[in-house]
Amino acid sequence: MKKVIGLVIVCFLVYNSVYFKKLSEQSASESSKFNFVAYADSIYNQGILKQAKPIALADLQKELGKNTENAFSQFGNRLGIGQTAYFMVSVDGTVLNKTVDGFEVKTTDGNIYPIDIKFIFGNAIRDASKLVKLTDFKTNADFNKVSEELNNVIREKAIPAQLSTLTVGDKVEVVGAIKQSKKDALPILILPANITKL
């Protein structure tokens, strides 16, 4: 019995002296105790779903064509300095087909837009929503954690649930974030925040 206990203790000590822990995990464990999961959940459910006022993509494109600066300042959000901004847009249409990265929507005027459900990452949806201020957080790391948790809520929970009932030919409204540049024409790629079957 003593030998068994001794072996367990030795195994425990050996494991704790050599086990692999990412340096990034070490750093993250030292960060603040703020509940980012609950905060992101409320930003999504109380903010994006209830308060966000997306502009119809076709209208945004007209506004961008008429007066780019005005369209960026009125409908877009760029934190700090840069040529691009994120916009919260809506698209009504029919599910044309499913792709490796998501699906495509065909609008009544014949335009086809890709909806990317695989790569919902970065600050696109957080910034397009205009609901989170940089000054609300002490460090950029905390501010970015909001994006990470918000993306998790959308990518891991909301969108899979909404997609489960979706088939080709369904009529849908997709609300999501796009990135546009004042300098170069960027292709329209919608990161969805909410998909509603019409």
Partner: protein, 307 residues
Amino acid sequence: MTFKSFLTLIIITVSLTNCSQKSSEEKPKVAVVISTLNNPWFVVLAEAAAKNAEQLGYEAKIFDSQNNPAIESDNFENLISSGYDAILFNPTDADGSISNIMKAKEAGVPVFCMDREVNSNDAATSQVLSDNYSGCAEIGIEFVKSLNGKGKYVEILGLVGDNNTWARSGGFHSVVDKFPGFKMLAQQSGDFDRNKAMEVLETIMQGHPDLEAVFCGNDAMAMGAYQALLSAGKADKVKVFGFDGASDVIEKIAEGKIVATGMQYPIVMAETAAKFADEYFKGKRDFPQRVPVEVVLVKKSNAGSFK
């Protein structure tokens, strides 16, 4: 006290007072304190900051902290006692540099951080920083696409005490960790240094000859990693990703030898920090605490426009 001694005392007092006050015609002095000048990227940042300050009509001098917080501290003490009026600052450490900023603040000298963040909201007058997280999330997406969602990789981090290191790593992992087909073989610091990164990767490759990709926290390390792979005859098998937008890496991306990097804009950061100092001298006090500067993904398809 005789009248002669009294007069002498008055003359000395007046002289000393004049010594400590800047004449109205003297240009304000701007110090540019840089973490290290042993990296071309920071040389660009330093020179752009000094040039912008001079163009705005100020005297500017560059101080090199040699990635050493003790030297940085000496630099601050020297420049405060030498009567500098503002500091354009690239810190060596997110926590360790705060006390230096506070010393300047107590002396009434505003500090504008460039590129590297400190973990305080009320030390620096403002912090102009690359949006490292978003930039590396985009690199992460390119990484996943380029490796078709699976592979064994190594991450070479920058300086462990620098927030940029963790913002970049965090942005990258926020994407890559969502794809279970990826396995990180090792994560080690290369201190943002080309030679160190080369040595780190050489050592890692001995234990993990099957690696398929390397993500580096800056372009100097990406070049070091590429060099190590070239020496091992693996340069065409292992995909390298960097961050910074250094000209040698852009060239390698155009040639298809490195996959992608994130283009930072040191000149924009330096220009903004110098402009803020100018506005401070003219009386402005209300500055945003943090100003993110966009990072642009550079890959083979758009490398030509950055050359």
